[in-house]
């Protein structure tokens, strides 16, 4: 357990814990962003530069935007943003469910018997990563690419069908205006 590892772990877990505990949604979202940055720091500490920077670009740069926009666009007022458990029973059952998931994950990780590498981890260069992605792992890359494209197209389709009635009403207004143009005022004699 080296010092950098401890510090990064504390920051990541601490940010996540405080994010859970805070009532203000926006503060929670920003602390979650901090914990993602902590994960990126983990990758850096482990020597995976590419993954670390990709993590920052994707999570801190894009997913955080998604979360914040979603929070802001679905809450009507600032007071709505405070989140509190509705009752003790609900809080307890949430805790139990989360604890069960945590237990399963812990058990899985401990049971796989990951070997501790004898020496320093091999640094994988970006070139090797690219060759792996385009070679043995190309199938998963294509599947993920297709999935993301479908998601993007689906989002555009959903957004545009919502606008149909707005577009129709605009066309109606334009048609009415063209059919009966405004009368020019008569010059008073």
């Amino acid at each position: 357990m080296s010092i950098p590892f401890l510090i990064i772990a504390l920051v990541t877990l601490g940010a996540a814990a405080v994010a859970m505990a805070l009532r203000n949604l926006i503060h929670s979202a920003l602390l979650l962003v901090a914990s993602w940055a902590g994960v990126a720091a983990f990758y850096l500490w482990a020597g995976a530069e590419f993954v670390a920077f990709a993590q920052v670009i994707v999570y801190v740069g894009a997913v955080s935007m998604v979360v914040l926009f979603a929070v802001l666009l679905t809450r009507r007022s600032r007071d709505d943003l405070a989140v509190a458990p509705e009752s003790l029973g609900r809080a307890l059952s949430a805790l139990l469910a989360g604890g069960a998931v945590l237990g399963v994950l812990f058990g899985a990780v401990l049971a796989t018997g990951l070997k501790v590498a004898p020496g320093p981890a091999p640094t994988v260069s970006v070139l090797q990563l690219g060759q792996q992605l385009m070679g043995p792992q190309v199938a998963s890359l294509l599947v993920i690419g297709a999935l993301l494209t479908v998601a993007l197209l689906g989002a555009i389709v959903i957004a545009s069908t919502d606008r149909d009635d707005v577009g129709a009403s605009l066309d109606d207004a334009r048609g009415r205006r063209q059919a009966a143009p405004l009368q020019e005022p008569e010059d008073t004699p």
């Binding site: 926006i26 503060h27 920003l30 962003v33 530069e49 590419f50 920077f53 990709a54 920052v56 670009i57 801190v60 740069g61 894009a62 955080s64 935007m65 914040l68 926009f69 802001l72 600032r78 260069s125 970006v126 070139l127």
Partner: protein, 415 residues
């Protein structure tokens, strides 16, 4: 001059020699730390001064374009026994320092119900991420602060994190107009993130590395003795360079994409509730972003610190970088003086419907270019093919997008 002669030339090695003279006596881990601190301090000092004089240059050039002088009245500070200093005419050179003093001494107004922590953190985070981007740009042959394998990705990762600070600024002001403007600014930043990233993918593809020093290495040499191998001098490189510069304009909120900070738009957008030093920090972050993106454009497309002609290699590499940087920054100012602001929907339309398809087609063009790198016949043939692949989509998409827009006709005004 051979490469060895230039790398050993005194002026080239002068920064290293200077640094080693100061820290050479320190033991090893301390020397690494102090070298790093010196690099950081030098970058902050140089780019801080560049920022100051860039604001002045912008105001004077904008003034001259608009038939007026820029600021030319700022006096030097005087003391009671040095009154003559106040009479010296500085032609505006003291203006940045006067502005700095003003920003520092202005009252820092924070709205009563504002989120104080976020309100304070937003300019700090913005500036921190903007400065982080300076770490991987090679300023000279031996002048890279940080040599990373995935340097280009690091640069854009740090740049993407600045968007978060914009949101924090708009949210923390507790002002619904600030929030709206922050949303619009975010939409702009995200829209132009995509063409920005897509425009350098061809460069990385052909250079074979994400490391900035590697990309500058890949642009070495001269074709026929006088045409440098810079990426901008190829069809796909020119297209990529133009897309990169336009997206850089939008990413740093610069005219004509300065909707977020224009005074006629929602006061000052997400900066409305900021005054004094925090406001100055926001502008510093914007200008640093501009400088960093120009530096990256130089690295990716303009050959970095390389001289344009072989006999000009005696000029040190950091001087060439400085010349190219100042040229690009003056280009930014020229563009600001010329073009009117784009509306929000025009902005996003331009990014998604024009720049992204062009950037994707550019990727294809680069592939064609690199596949035709065989015999000399192929190499000559690839020029017209790639030029066509760049120009035709530009014209076609341009025509399609401006299809319904004709020059305006007036009913009553005399022609």
């Amino acid at each position: 001059m051979s490469a060895a002669a230039t790398t050993d030339a005194f002026l080239e090695r002068a920064p290293q020699l200077l640094r080693d003279a100061v820290t050479g006596f320190l033991p090893e881990p301390w020397r690494w730390i102090v070298n790093g601190i010196i690099a950081i301090a030098v970058i902050l000092a140089v780019f801080g001064l560049l920022f100051a004089f860039l604001t002045l240059a912008e105001r004077k050039i904008l003034g001259r374009v608009q038939n007026r002088p820029g600021p030319n009245r700022a006096p030097t500070p005087t003391l009671p026994f040095l009154k003559f200093l106040g009479k010296i005419r500085t032609y505006g050179l003291a203006q940045p320092f006067a502005d700095g003093v003003k920003a520092l001494t202005k009252e820092d107004v924070v709205p009563r119900d504002a989120d104080k922590l976020l309100h304070f953190l937003a300019p700090v985070a913005l500036l921190a991420f903007s400065i982080l981007t300076f770490a991987v740009i090679p300023y000279g042959r031996h002048l890279v602060p940080l040599e990373l394998d995935a340097a280009v990705l690091y640069f854009f990762a740090a740049g993407a994190s600045t968007e978060l600070a914009v949101f924090m600024a708009g949210w923390a002001s507790r002002n619904k107009y600030s929030l709206l403007a922050a949303m619009r600014a975010l939409a702009q930043l995200i829209s132009y993130e995509l063409p920005l990233l897509l425009s350098w993918v061809p460069v990385v593809m052909l250079a074979g590395t994400l490391s900035t020093t590697g990309i500058v290495e890949a642009q070495a040499g001269w074709k026929w003795g006088f045409i440098p191998h810079w990426h901008v001098l190829t069809p796909w490189g020119f297209c990529g360079f133009v897309i990169f510069m336009v997206s850089a304009l939008a990413e740093s909120n610069r005219s004509p994409f300065d909707l977020p900070e224009a005074e006629s738009e929602l006061i000052a957008g997400h900066l409305t509730e900021y005054s004094g030093f925090k406001y100055a920090l926001f502008f510093m972050a914007e200008y640093f972003g501009m400088i960093a993106l120009s530096g990256m454009a130089i690295t990716l497309f303009l050959g970095g610190w390389r001289a344009p002609l072989p006999f000009l290699e005696f000029v040190p590499s950091y001087a060439w970088f400085a010349v190219k940087l100042i040229t690009l920054l003056l280009g930014f100012i020229w563009i600001r003086a010329t073009f009117p602001r784009l509306r929000m929907d025009q902005l996003t339309r331009f990014a998604w419907k024009f720049l992204v398809p062009l950037a994707l087609i550019n990727l294809g063009t680069t592939t064609v270019w690199s596949l035709m790198a065989g015999s000399t016949a192929l190499q000559i043939a690839r020029w017209p093919i790639c030029l066509a692949l760049v120009v035709v989509p530009f014209v076609v998409i341009g025509r399609t997008l401006s299809a319904g827009v004709a020059p305006r006709t007036y009913r009553y005004a005399a022609s």
